[in-house]
């Protein structure tokens, strides 16, 4: 968990004032666009989506990574939920994320020996697993100053794209309603009484 705090600090996403300062309210998009008055978007998915920040190749790579993180199962995965365009929007607005992504995406190809996108799914998963293991624990980072290393940045990149994928997916119509089955935001005449079930 210290790992997470560290990652957040570097990406700059801490510090929200609300009744629940630690919980689900911290999303990149909310922080990056706090005071924007965007009107409701009638159509989230523009087809074909033209990335604001990523090159077409980078966007393909981001889409592949997002789908590896949240794949299609009995519900659509990250790409089916429009997550790559969300990632593009948020990354485009944040200089730190822009540089983290540019470097991170390059490193994936370095690891692949050629092009990440041309690897088999198993090979892609292996590389992503390595990236996900690079982020050291806070105590390690303090004792070995490993945080300066390239691998540490790879770890940060993985955290960033995972966080953005999770945020984007679980706030999408597909993720929130279809996958999680969220059924709130309705009008209840009374709040239902619960009892602890007998075992």
């Amino acid at each position: 968990m210290e790992t997470r705090r560290e990652a957040l600090k570097i990406i700059g996403a801490v510090g929200v004032t609300c009744a629940f300062p630690f919980s689900a309210n911290q999303l990149y998009g909310q922080l990056a666009h706090q005071h924007q008055q965007s009107p409701p978007d009638a159509v989230i998915e523009e087809v074909p989506y033209k990335p604001i920040f990523f090159t077409p190749t980078q966007f393909q790579l981001v889409s592949r990574l997002a789908d590896l993180i949240i794949p299609t199962t009995d519900t659509p995965g990250a790409v089916g939920a429009g997550v790559p365009s969300y990632i593009d929007l948020i990354v485009s607005a944040d200089p730190k994320l822009r540089s983290l992504f540019e470097k991170g995406l390059q490193r994936l190809d370095v690891y692949s020996g050629s092009t990440f996108l041309q690897l088999t799914e198993a090979q892609q998963v292996d590389i992503l697993t390595a990236f996900s293991n690079f982020l050291p624990t806070f105590s390690n980072a303090a004792s070995t100053s490993i945080d300066k290393s390239i691998e540490y940045n790879d770890g940060l990149f993985f955290r960033a794209i995972k966080n953005l994928t999770a945020d984007g997916y679980y706030t999408s119509r597909v993720g929130l309603l279809q996958e999680l089955g969220y059924n709130g935001n309705s009008v209840l005449a009374a709040f239902p009484t619960s009892t602890i079930p007998e075992h």
Binding site: A19, S23, H35, S38, I90, D167, Y170, N183, I196
Partner: protein
């Protein structure tokens, strides 16, 4: 209007200003409320029922398109922060008022629980507070509506805590669970802090200001940013100077009495900016205490999952956000720190699931893990009381001005050793309860990354003019017709959410000011 002299000019329209204005207007006192933000219609202007996917960046704006208000960090808008609060309403206890006497740290209030109890009664009846009568020494009961039932997750945590001899009770909120003559009951849409579109949750504009308008004794100057409280050479507050937010024109409102109630940090900022021949370092600052003793709550948090609820069918139990509360119980325990803490407990489903980031791994297994845990999520939001210290204060930054030409106001809070001990204990308590309930811990917050909430202190209330700014009736020691009515007057914060106490103080101050008008003292 230009030449009118009001009986009182109140700066700010939230819990403090709104309550004070409402009560005084009902007594026949001629009130001007000056509010920096626009009027807001709770029925039509808030985005209460929007969901994140309605927006590309997934951020739901507070206001509907084309509606003004609440667009800055100062929460400007008629109704102030009561529009967007979570409505937790707790009475302070004798121990909270006399913390210094109890454990030698911080400062006592010059008043005690019996002084405020009748005003708590009055406010709870006016605004409608739901809660259970728990008979706790540290959290006095009030005139409550029935609380909504606890969620299943709350019950599991309550059972676990009971085994550890720790109380978990129904939270107490200024949200109606039964319709009144004026307002409908809560419909549990789960988005209280987006602004309640039916005013089931208390806000000062609908509950205190609107009825006061009908008395003919209340005038609200919206979009009017006060930049100075004017004080005469005879040491009388004579009114305020303001800037029209839209036209940027200066204006003046004259009154026989002035109350500053624009939320802790901004109130202190306004007084610091109101310099004059008599008060070269800030109005009512002859003691040099203005801005000192800043004591916001410090927060910690623990997140996790209740094993018994993992993979259960999703039920709509978002409710009115948090339904359960862990009240201060520390007085009965041996401990190595002064003061105490309380914990807001949130269980049930939610429209935002930022915790999904922390679930380890990726791929099909990750996706399944998140889905299974969606109905099982638990969050403990802990509030600790800060002891005043020399490093925590409110100060003007005279190198920076905002778009209205006002100095930036900085509030700096520093946690010290006592705060560290409370912090550790509140997280330890939350983890213990969760583990004992058979839960999984997902994340625990870190003391080195402080989070503060509920701005308090800066205009300390006290009986000694050398060590405090206002007296027991929120009147400044320096200027006999100047009042400060908000969280800035708290000499010690307690761990409890402050709004109900701010409203009770405003009601008490209204009685006091009303009496002074009757006796022709003002």
């Amino acid at each position: 209007m230009e030449n009118k002299v009001f009986d009182i000019c109140i700066v700010g329209s939230g819990a403090g200003g709104g309550t004070l204005a409402g009560h005084l207007a009902q007594k026949g006192v001629d009130v001007a409320v000056v509010e920096g933000g626009p009027p807001v219609n709770t029925r039509t202007d808030f985005n209460t029922h929007a969901l994140p996917f309605d927006y590309k960046n997934r951020h739901i704006p507070t206001m509907k398109p084309g509606k003004a208000g609440f667009d800055s960090e100062r929460t400007r808008g008629v109704g102030g922060k009561t529009m967007l609060w979570n409505a937790v309403s707790l009475r302070l206890s004798h121990r909270d008022f006399k913390g210094y006497s109890a454990d030698g740290a911080g400062a006592d209030w010059p008043i005690d629980y019996p002084d405020l109890a009748p005003y708590y009664d009055q406010i709870e009846r006016e605004v409608g507070v739901c809660g259970n009568r728990d008979g706790l020494e540290d959290l006095p009961d009030g005139a409550f509506m029935p609380p909504p039932p606890l969620k299943l997750g709350d019950l599991l945590l309550q059972r676990s805590a009971k085994q550890l001899s720790i109380p978990i009770i129904h939270t107490r909120k200024a949200t109606l669970t039964r319709a009144t003559r004026m307002r409908p009951a809560c419909h549990y849409c789960g988005n209280c802090m987006a602004g309640c579109d039916v005013a089931a949750k208390y806000n000062s504009a609908d509950v205190h200001l609107a009825p006061a308008m009908n008395t003919g004794h209340l005038t609200v100057f919206a979009n009017s940013i006060v930049r100075e409280v004017i004080v005469s050479d005879e040491n009388r507050a004579t009114g305020v100077r303001y800037l029209d937010r839209i036209t940027r024109q200066e204006g003046e409102i004259r009154a026989r009495c002035v109350a500053v109630a624009c939320a802790c940090v901004q109130s202190v900022g306004l007084l610091l900016m109101s310099r004059s021949r008599l008060y070269p370092t800030g109005l009512a600052n002859s003691s040099g205490q203005l801005g000192r003793h800043y004591i916001p709550h410090f927060n910690s948090g623990v997140e996790g999952f209740l094993t018994e609820l993992i993979n259960r069918p999703v039920v709509n139990d978002e409710g009115f956000v948090d339904h359960a509360y862990l009240p201060s119980f520390m007085h009965a325990r041996k401990r190595d720190y002064a003061r105490s803490f309380g914990i807001q407990i949130y269980t049930g489903i939610s429209r935002t699931t930022g915790w999904a980031r922390e679930v380890p791994g990726f791929g099909v297994a990750y996706k399944r893990t998140v889905k299974q845990r969606f109905p099982a999520y638990v969050s403990f939001q802990c509030f600790g009381e800060m002891i005043p210290n020399g490093e925590s204060f409110i100060l003007l930054d005279e190198t920076q001005k905002d778009t209205y030409g006002l100095y930036k106001v900085n509030a700096k809070a520093v946690q010290q050793e006592n705060e560290r001990r409370i912090y550790d204990d509140m997280n330890k308590t939350a983890v213990e309860i969760l583990r004992n309930a058979g839960g999984e811990v997902l994340s625990v917050s870190n003391f080195e990354e402080p989070v503060f909430n509920h701005q308090l202190g800066g205009c300390r209330m006290g009986s000694d003019p050398r060590s405090s700014v206002v007296n027991a009736f929120c009147r400044t020691h320096d200027v006999p017709n100047l009042y400060v009515v908000d969280g800035s007057v708290f000499p010690s914060a307690s761990e409890k959410n402050p709004t109900l106490t701010i409203m009770a103080l405003a009601a008490r101050t209204a009685d006091h000011i009303g009496d002074r008008f009757k006796k022709v003292e003002i």
